[in-house]
Symmetry: C2
Subunit: 413 residues, 2 copies
């Protein structure tokens, strides 16, 4: 008998029919002899509706009160799913974050989980019941309702799985697993049966929206086995989705590259002709960080003639603000020659733990892109990832040719 935590997102809870389907799925897992805890999101669109309503009343809603309000989204779905379970003969009980208790700090709107009291849920499980828990929410030590911020329901699922020492945390979503790349761009993209945590972290941070990166980090920290599955597969035709493993499977021939990720939300900035002296990187990026602008890639090449060029990328929404800071404040201060910026770029990355033991992945990647006439503007590498910045117009082409070149369309061994 296994203890399974299942997390269902907003689209899985999007209508009465879908909720009844989730209930049937939960019932099947329980009938197979598992203890099941279900963590649910609000119905899709509901959190946005509540936030819009709050903003209709107050332009800048009080953070504590906003949490009181948006936490009702999950309070509705735990009740609906529990009703649906009872209707098909499954003894079940709903829990708000406060009823569990999921104790968080008091950072309203983006609280962090400190501790989960698993006593109530464990007692229910021992009685053969299913516990249905509101995701995304908790309670601070003073009894105030808190929320974990967007995507927090995944984190709730993982945290509850960790607290209960569950055998597996299943994240049900509208896709049936993690793919080698986005199937909307490459129709030959293949579902991965498994992927390592490190790879998943790189894929998630690069824009694969299947899992919230915070929940993956959390799962890694507490060694929770995660599985991504679809809640829309028909009964009897379910697949096992993608398992996110802690160790590279020694029995399996590890592919060199597991996936091609991409991100079109970035913009590039370059400070040209910067005096090549110690401390220059800090003088440029210090003010940017103080302005709360997240910097992703940072490139500085060897200088010549006593000056160098310094490039970095930011979220595209911060492009104008960053450019203005560089022009008006940083350029005169560091004595740079010019500032250039380009918001029409994208980042394409090859991710795979296999590249550790396979030299030549980077050069192959550069060759493939060159053969297509795609100019590489920036390069950044980590142990298991190679990222390049190219003109946005090449995004689909770059992803397609890399996916093919690394044979990601071939079935795994």
């Amino acid at each position: 008998m296994a203890l399974i935590v299942q997390k269902y997102g907003g689209t899985s809870m999007g209508s009465p029919d879908r909720i009844r389907n989730v209930a049937k799925r939960v019932a099947r897992w329980q009938a197979q002899g598992n203890k099941v805890v279900v963590v649910v999101s609000a119905m899709s669109g509901e959190t946005n509706r509540l936030i819009a309503l709050a903003k209709d009343v107050s332009p800048q809603p009080d953070p504590r009160e906003l949490d009181v309000m948006v936490s009702t989204g999950e309070q509705v779905t735990i009740a609906l799913l529990t009703m649906a379970l009872k209707d098909i003969g499954v003894n079940a009980k709903s829990y708000t974050g406060s009823q569990v208790r999921i104790v968080t700090d008091s950072t309203f709107n983006k609280a962090r989980i400190l501790n989960i009291d698993d006593g109530n849920i464990r007692a229910d499980l021992d009685k053969g019941m299913v516990a249905v828990v509101a995701g995304f929410q908790g309670v601070d030590e003073h009894g105030n309702i808190t929320t974990l911020g967007r995507g927090g329901s995944d984190t709730s699922g993982v945290a509850i799985a960790a607290a209960l020492k569950a055998d597996e945390c299943q994240i049900y979503t509208d896709v049936d697993g993690v793919y080698t790349t986005d199937p909307r761009i490459v129709p030959e993209a293949r579902k991965l049966n498994q992927i390592t945590f490190e790879e998943m972290l790189e894929m998630a941070s690069l824009g694969s929206k299947v899992l919230q990166i915070r929940s993956v980090e959390f799962a890694g920290k507490y060694k929770v086995k995660l599985r991504v599955l679809s809640s829309f597969e028909e009964e009897g035709k379910e697949t096992l989705g993608t398992l996110i493993t802690f160790e590279e499977n020694p029995k399996m021939e590890q592919p060199i590259i597991s996936g091609i990720a991409f991100n079109r939300d970035e913009a590039k900035l370059t400070v040209l002709g910067v005096p090549d002296r110690p401390g220059i990187a800090y003088q440029i990026l210090g003010p940017i960080a103080e302005a709360n602008i997240d910097v992703d890639m940072i490139i500085q090449n060897v200088g010549h003639d006593g000056t160098t060029d310094f490039s970095f990328t930011v979220n595209r929404g911060e492009f104008a603000r960053t450019k203005a800071m560089l022009d008006e404040q940083i350029k005169p201060h560091v004595g740079a020659r010019a500032v250039e910026g380009d918001s029409k770029i994208c980042k394409v990355s090859a991710v795979g733990v296999g590249m550790r033991s396979h030299p030549g992945v980077a050069s192959k990647m550069f060759r493939i892109l060159a053969e297509e006439g795609i100019n590489i503007q920036m390069i950044s590498t980590s142990e298991i990832k190679i990222s390049v910045v190219v003109d946005e117009k090449y995004l689909e082409l770059a992803v397609r040719v890399l996916h093919k070149a690394f044979e990601l369309d071939q079935a795994a061994a």
Copy 2:
């Protein structure tokens, strides 16, 4: 400095504009040196929307889970009102029933309040804050969310006023007080500045929908001063509504009749030719009560020829079921001659504590109706009320002529 509990209903919370208006009103009361606790209902329509959603998922929603769900309606409005208060510089904090704690029994959907812990709210008030409390909801001793049933927000307001020993509980609604009768029927109907609890109970039970009868009973039991006011009066033009007093005002010339109430939701049933023997009333009404049908008026006149006729009224929605029970089950059992029923009736009542000391009110009432050719089908009296059942078509006429005959259109002394 007074401690005031203000309760706002669903129409007062019906839109962002209205919520901001409520916030301004609360701010004015506080600025006048009062400590203010606000109890709110869900936005109008929201509770029905949630119940409909529950029924879309489950034909007979689990009672515990239904309470988890519908309690979110008030959780949204406490947050919205608190945001609006903070926006205009009033320090405020919202409370769910569980956060207060409003402890109830575990009768989901129609729980009864057992105890209110006033510590948290009192501490806030002492800090100069406004406490905004969710009406209609509580929590049982096991931490389960409960609701008080329809109209429960009024009861929450009164119960909190009682627990805090508030100087006054103000019920804000969409009318500006209690009227001598329904102004839609009698345009000359006059707002009463005050009314006794006994009268209010009779008016409420007779269909005056201003206050829930349960909250009036609660206020009477705990000696809470209640005031009914409008939340739609403009700033500077507010009236003091209607105060519901415990004692007849000795300084004031008490009017004989305070109001004319009516109810068109009833139906009349008569069992004819019942053997006139002891126990017959129980044999007729016992099965009706067991079927959970509420009986209002009961009339049995002296018999003749060894038989009597037995009449009573029920809610119109129960008419068909009651008639069937009488026909098929009770008539053969008691050996009655026939069963008659009429759902096209109404009840009109004159209410006033003054009639205790003024004989002749009943005969005056019967004379006025006779002069208009209105046949009286049933009569029932209490110490401060005379009710008659007449054909439904005479409702407006009867109310108008009685209102005029008892001079309710004249300003009070």
